[in-house]
C-alpha cells in the first residue's frame, strides 16, 4: 500500500538499485587481479526510471481486432553496455580495474543508500503524525 505513494516507490527503487550496484562493485573489487577483467557498472538511475509506474505509457490504440499491440518487457537496471568506449588504465596482465575508483563508487553508493533510508524514516514519521498517532 505504501508503494502506491510515489515518494515511497521512488525510495524503494533507489534502495534496490543501491543493493544491485553494491553487488556489481564488489565483483569488480574482488577481481582486481584477475587477468583480462573489465569493470562493470549499472546504468544511472534517472528520474524517469524512478517514477515510471506512475506515468501512464502512451499505448497505441487498437482500431481493429486483427491488429496486434506489443509490449516491451520491463528490464530491471540494465548493466551499462559499453556503447561509449570508456578509456581504461590497463595493466600488463590485461586487468582494467582501478581499485581507488571502485572504492569511491562504493562510498557514493553507501551514502545514497543512507540518504534513501533517512528519507524513508522522515516521511514515515510525517505520515504517522498526520494520521494522528505515534511518535
Amino acid at each position: 500500500m505504501l508503494k502506491d505513494i510515489t515518494l515511497f516507490h521512488m525510495i524503494q527503487k533507489k534502495v534496490d538499485w543501491s543493493h544491485q550496484r553494491m553487488s556489481v562493485l564488489a565483483t569488480n573489487i574482488a577481481n582486481a587481479d584477475t587477468p583480462y577483467y573489465r569493470p562493470k557498472d549499472l546504468k544511472k538511475l534517472g528520474f524517469e526510471d524512478l517514477v515510471a509506474p506512475f506515468r501512464p505509457p502512451l499505448k497505441a490504440q487498437r482500431t481493429s481486432a486483427t491488429h496486434m499491440v506489443g509490449t516491451k518487457p520491463e528490464i530491471n537496471f540494465r548493466e551499462r553496455t559499453g556503447s561509449k568506449r570508456k578509456h581504461y588504465e590497463i595493466s600488463p596482465d590485461g586487468n582494467a580495474i582501478n581499485v581507488e575508483d571502485q572504492l569511491m563508487k562504493v562510498n557514493k553508493t553507501s551514502s545514497q543508500y543512507r540518504m534513501a533510508t533517512a528519507l524513508y524514516q522522515k516521511n514515515l514519521q510525517m505520515l504517522r503524525k498526520s494520521l494522528g498517532g505515534g511518535k
Partner: protein, 137 residues
C-alpha cells in the same frame, strides 16, 4: 539479497588474496633453496592466477584460483666451486625467485585484501542501517 551477494563476492576476493600470500611466502622462503642432491634441480618459482566464476547457489560472481603453475624461466647460476653440488664449471643452480618482485607483489595483495575488507564493512553498515529502520521506524 544482493547485499549478501556483495559480501560473498568480497569474501571470495579476500580468500584468493590469502592463497596468493601463501604462494608468495613459499617463494620467498625458498629463494635460496638449492637442489637436495648432486645433479638435481633447485626450487622453482610458483605463479598463481585467478578466474571469475558464477556460484550456482548464491548467484554471486566469485573469484577463484585458476591454477598455481610454475615459472619456467631459467634458474640463476651462482659461481660457487666450493659447494659439493656445484657442476664441473663451478656453477651452482639457484631458484629463479627475485625476492624484490615477490615483496612488491605482496604489497599489491595486501592492498586488494584491504579493499575487499572495506567492501564488507560498507555492506555491513548498510545492512545495520536497514535493520535500524525496523527498530526505530
Amino acid at each position: 539479497m544482493d547485499l549478501h551477494k556483495a559480501s560473498r563476492t568480497a569474501a571470495s576476493g579476500m580468500q584468493v588474496q590469502v592463497r596468493r600470500m601463501r604462494v608468495l611466502s613459499e617463494n620467498i622462503a625458498n629463494s635460496d633453496s638449492v637442489a637436495s642432491r648432486a645433479g638435481g634441480v633447485p626450487y622453482r618459482r610458483q605463479i598463481i592466477s585467478f578466474k571469475t566464476e558464477l556460484d550456482r547457489e548464491t548467484n554471486a560472481n566469485l573469484v577463484q584460483v585458476r591454477r598455481i603453475g610454475k615459472d619456467w624461466s631459467d634458474f640463476r647460476k651462482d659461481y660457487d666451486p666450493g659447494h659439493p653440488y656445484a657442476d664441473k664449471d663451478g656453477y651452482l643452480l639457484k631458484p629463479n625467485v627475485n625476492p624484490l618482485l615477490e615483496m612488491v607483489d605482496m604489497q599489491q595483495a595486501q592492498r586488494t585484501y584491504r579493499a575487499n575488507l572495506n567492501v564488507i564493512e560498507t555492506v555491513r553498515s548498510m545492512v545495520s542501517q536497514g535493520i535500524r529502520l525496523l527498530t526505530t521506524g
